[in-house]
């Protein structure tokens, strides 16, 4: 009986080690992006009308079939930004907008037409739009993930930030790979 328990324990340990060691690069990247997504919230100042009241949570809408939403749900559990709780909302394929979201993540697997519509519907509203694709930063995206020398970095478009009535803190701008200045 003791031997059986020991074998089960050894199997569980080996399986967990194997899964950690054999984690794919996209899975690790999704975990990092999920961590970045909720950390962005600490460096953004939303206008007052972005929240129902002082206790309203910060809602992160995720439009992606990847593992970002899952990683994000685990990461934000029990976390707060100031007094506000963090919540994740998974968007369905039919969702073309994210009402009540303060952050909207549009993943690389979202069809270009839907991605463009999601960004267009968030335009001019107090939503931090975050995109992730191999292409150039799409129009309406405030923050865009890029892979630079095997590291996850991000670009910031200040014009989109202004249009959505947001203010990004200077430390976030300082660590961005590239900050696209406002057009005069």
């Amino acid at each position: 009986m003791a031997l059986r328990h020991a074998l089960i324990a050894a199997f569980v340990v080996a399986a967990s080690l194997g899964s950690a060691a054999g984690e794919s690069a996209p899975a690790i990247q999704d975990r990092i992006k999920a961590a970045f997504l909720y950390k962005f919230a600490g460096y953004v100042e939303w206008p007052r009308e972005a929240f129902g009241d002082a206790a309203s949570p910060i809602v992160i809408g995720v439009a992606s079939a990847g593992t970002v939403a899952e990683e994000l749900e685990q990461a934000v559990a029990g976390r707060h930004i100031g007094e506000r709780q963090l919540r994740v909302r998974r968007l369905l394929r039919a969702d073309m907008r994210c009402d009540g979201c303060q952050i909207l993540f549009v993943g690389p697997d979202v069809e270009p037409a839907r991605a463009a519509l999601l960004l267009e519907n968030a335009r001019g509203r107090p939503v931090l739009t975050v995109t992730d694709s191999d292409a150039e930063q799409p129009h309406g995206s405030v923050i865009h993930f890029v892979v630079d020398a095997d590291r996850i970095r991000f670009d910031i478009a200040r014009e989109a930030e202004d249009r959505n009535g947001l203010r990004l803190a200077s430390p976030l701008l300082a660590v961005a790979r590239r900050v696209k200045a406002r057009t005069p």
């Binding site: 970045f36 976390r79 590291r151 996850i152 976030l172």
Partner: protein
Amino acid sequence: MRPPFLRIRSVRQKLFAGVLLTSFAALLVTGIALFIYDVRTYRESIARDLEVQAELIGRATSAALQFDDVKFAADNLALLSARPSIRAAALYNARGAIFAMYLPAGAERKDLPPLPGADSMVFSGAMITVFHRIVENGEIVGTVYLSAVYDLRGRALSYSAIVLAVMLASLIVALIFTYWLQAGISKPIIEIAALARRTTKSARSCSPSTTCSRRSSGARRSSRNRPASSTG
């Protein structure tokens, strides 16, 4: 046996010695008090200064730690080259691994602790080390480590030299003032003493049979009443 300055017979020299000795004693007590105060405040100020420095580094590099920007963090730490007293600095990430470091000439990576410690400040010999946790939204995102020179001996020596130089300058100024002021104080005394000496001398030169016998008895009284020490 009396000290040499008490064996001085001249009023002028006694005044000089008295003023200088009083000034020296006052300056010495003030100098010692200032020295003790400085040594105590130096320790407190260097500790506070390093704590503030660690706090500033923490705030400046918090985003770099959270968004994995090693270069930005290293660039921030490199600014410490403007402070030669800093002998090593490091940033640890939330997992306790070294994220970025600053090692000036002569310092090595082995000088850095392999793991970060809790918030602390330790004086050890001529060094002071600080661990300062960086907290964002109630979450530890990293730790700043600073190691700086705490040269109390050098500070004490330089401060002593300054105090001695100030004492010397003050004594010279006191000497000049004493010389200037004592003319007004000792001059009348010296004149009275000179008059007394002259009177005594003339009394001695008179014979008892001459008319100056009354004056001589007065002069003798004056001579008896004269103090033992010379006033000239």
